[in-house]
Symmetry: C2
Subunit: 436 residues, 2 copies
């Protein structure tokens, strides 16, 4: 029988009781950040649940990972700024604690359970209408890496920049290629993105162009949120990598293509990416995604032993990008892709990241890279969709090669169950003009 | 008249009263980390100085940046793990506070000042013999970037990998090229480095090599420790960049050349670098280095306006790398270089990093890249010194192309004043074998 909550959840909602994604929110601007899970049109305040003693299993009973409980005991002596306003402590606890939290919360929210359902005062404290909260970055990100795991994306970029002969570098088929990204400029959905200034390719022998980027792009990605880390020098086995993954978010790896093209030889992307990266606010757990797993694409040549998985899984997550062009009101879908198109799995990415002994820490972020599908209407960025500006996209009476000031870009992602969705909400950002 | 301390400082010491570099230390393993400055063969415990009320200027009087003072008031309610065991709060305060601290400490330690000199009980508490302490990583590093700012290094790498025609990419003369590094694996001097495993170039059509790196190298670098940051979207002016720099450390950016060569196209170095990066424990402040500043090399073509400095400064810091080969006792000098050889200055590096709006945070690290001089005996890594293994180095009866297990690599750096040195101490690490 289908698990149901006593809270009414619209059939189209991304947040039924089967999902319960984690985020961090403010009840009002400037108030204490607190952890929550999304349920229908509400956020369940986990600090209230913890304070009420309802996390009573062995892993969470004595944990301060929902920290407001701790705050209640030391209201004077511990300053708010010393508290950890993120989910990192929960991430560190690992899958047994996460499973315990999921079981506790699904029971607490289920239609049959009276504890919260029948306690009006507790409900009032614990359930906050989603429309009233401000979502915050849910994790403190130590390091952020970004992979290049879609074969369609790698191929399209190769053809655009180097032509159709051997568009994919030979190393790509052996290595989940990645670069280190910038953690400081990762922002939460809804944060405006200021168009970066930078250098672009010089024409002939002139000096390089300098000014606002002329080729500002989005990149449709998802990202792995790392749970327990590993010790420096001790790689994670690919078949145990899933135990180090808490969940996934949507990610827009905004890119200034002109800056990137001029700077990236020989050390890779730098300022073309580091001006901003947007995350969706809700982390959907691997446990919630499990029922939507499917076989990853076959890999040929076969991966080296350290990347060979007993079972190589992707997830069936439908992804969509819309743009609200500057000055307009309606969103226009510009691409539809799916997480299942990734060639290198998130567990291979994580194992590769550590094979040299590199240590991961709770809250690290591993981006997938742009998730392009095989068809032209499933490409994951404007570089591919407009073929580097050659084929403008029509959008509600206007057109785009790259993003213009005032454009808003909206990602959504969700899995379709039999009677419900398990979704990620949205990941959006609007382009503001460069400073003068 | 030369400023003198009541503490006897050997003329060869790196740590006279003119230096006063900052670090973080343990009095014994597992005890509370605390901030200190080096003076001769002692560490001055700044938490003791702060607790005694001796930081009495306007910027530091009410600051908890030397945090043990704060800890004394709340010994029960604040857990040690919630305190900030690093210098980040001091970094955030900016140059006026740093200057105040320097004036306070130079006065406190001077031969003429009785407060500490004549108080045996306070001296006993505040001054710890350097031989008895364990030095710790002094900063929490949010993001670590690594530049490529030595022209000699860029040229040598170009000749080795692409041949003598146009060895330096055209973008290099316009852009302080850099990549994002891995913050999690930055370690303090003295930490062993485990030889990374990884993929190396396949021979012909075979699968890539996988195993312990066969081309493990050091890179002689220094790194800027960032003080106050900047807001996302608001670049730092190059002529104000020095106000965002607390000081410098020595840095060994260990590199697996075979891994790097196979992985780096098109997204740059990743696992070839991320297995470990070693910092020297003492941060020498820009204020202490100021008297050793000199004009940076002329830049031709002239830099774009956002990189054009009113005064372009380097520092005259003599750098040296020694190796103690496995099984031996003596260190052999393998190169002598100097910070003054850098083409792009640290202020240009910092301004470039932010020109796209990227935000810096206190404790961020900006590596210079390998600091090679013009002569073959001043090259900053084995790749250059042995010309990619073609010309082995002789070392005390043995020879090296790249590093072997058991080798210890030691960097030192110092500025020569009229009657004293201002130095960085050492930055060392020993290579341990790969896990089986």
């Amino acid at each position: 029988m289908l698990l149901k909550s006593f809270i009414e959840v619209h059939p189209d909602s991304h947040f039924p009781i089967q999902n319960l994604p984690y985020g961090v929110f403010n009840r009002e601007p400037g108030s204490e950040p607190r952890p929550g899970v999304a349920i229908g049109d509400y956020v369940l305040d986990l600090s209230v649940v913890a304070s009420a003693g309802l996390f009573d299993g062995p892993y969470l009973r004595n944990s301060d990972c929902f920290y407001q409980a701790c705050f209640l005991f030391f209201p004077i002596f511990v300053r708010a700024s010393d508290l950890n306003p993120n989910l990192n402590k929960l991430l560190e606890l690992g899958r047994p604690a996460w499973k315990e939290a999921r079981i506790t919360l699904q029971k607490l929210l289920s239609a049959a359970e009276p504890i919260l359902r029948d306690n009006a005062s507790l409900r009032e404290k614990a359930l906050v209408p989603m429309g009233k909260v401000q979502m915050l970055l849910p994790i403190a990100i130590g390091d952020y890496s970004d992979f290049f795991a879609s074969k369609h994306h790698a191929k399209n970029c190769g053809v655009i920049f180097r032509g159709p002969e051997n568009p994919i570098n030979p190393n790509w088929f052996h290595i989940p290629i990645a670069y280190h990204g910038r953690a400081s400029s990762v922002v939460i959905s809804g944060t405006d993105i200021i168009r970066p200034r930078g250098q672009g390719h010089p024409a002939g022998n002139s000096s390089p162009y300098f000014g606002p980027s002329r080729k500002l792009d989005f990149e449709l990605e998802m990202a792995t949120v790392v749970g327990p880390g590993n010790e420096l020098g001790k790689p994670v086995d690919v078949n145990e990598a899933a135990d180090h993954i808490f969940g996934l978010v949507l990610m827009n790896d905004w890119s200034a293509r002109d800056v990137q093209a001029w700077e990236y030889v020989p050390l890779g992307p730098f300022l073309g990416k580091s001006f901003g990266t947007t995350l969706s606010p809700w982390i959907v757990t691997l446990d919630a995604l499990e029922q939507f797993s499917l076989d990853a694409p076959e890999q040929n040549p076969p991966p080296l032993p350290y990347l060979a998985e007993k079972k190589s899984k992707n997830y069936d997550i439908a992804l969509q990008v819309s743009i609200i062009p500057a000055g307009q009101k309606d969103a226009h879908v510009v691409t539809r892709s799916n997480f299942k198109h990734l060639y290198w799995t998130i567990t291979q990415q994580l194992a590769h990241q550590t094979i040299n002994g590199c240590n991961l820490r709770p809250g690290d972020l591993l981006g997938t890279g742009t998730i392009s599908g095989p068809e032209p209407d499933s490409y994951g960025c404007l570089l591919e969709l407009t073929w580097n500006g050659q084929n403008p996209l029509s959008l509600g009476g206007t057109s785009r090669t790259f993003l213009e000031d005032g454009d808003e870009v909206i990602f959504t992602g969700c899995c379709k169950g039999d009677d419900y969705y398990v979704g990620f909400g949205k990941c959006s950002g609007k382009i503001l003009p460069s400073p003068p």
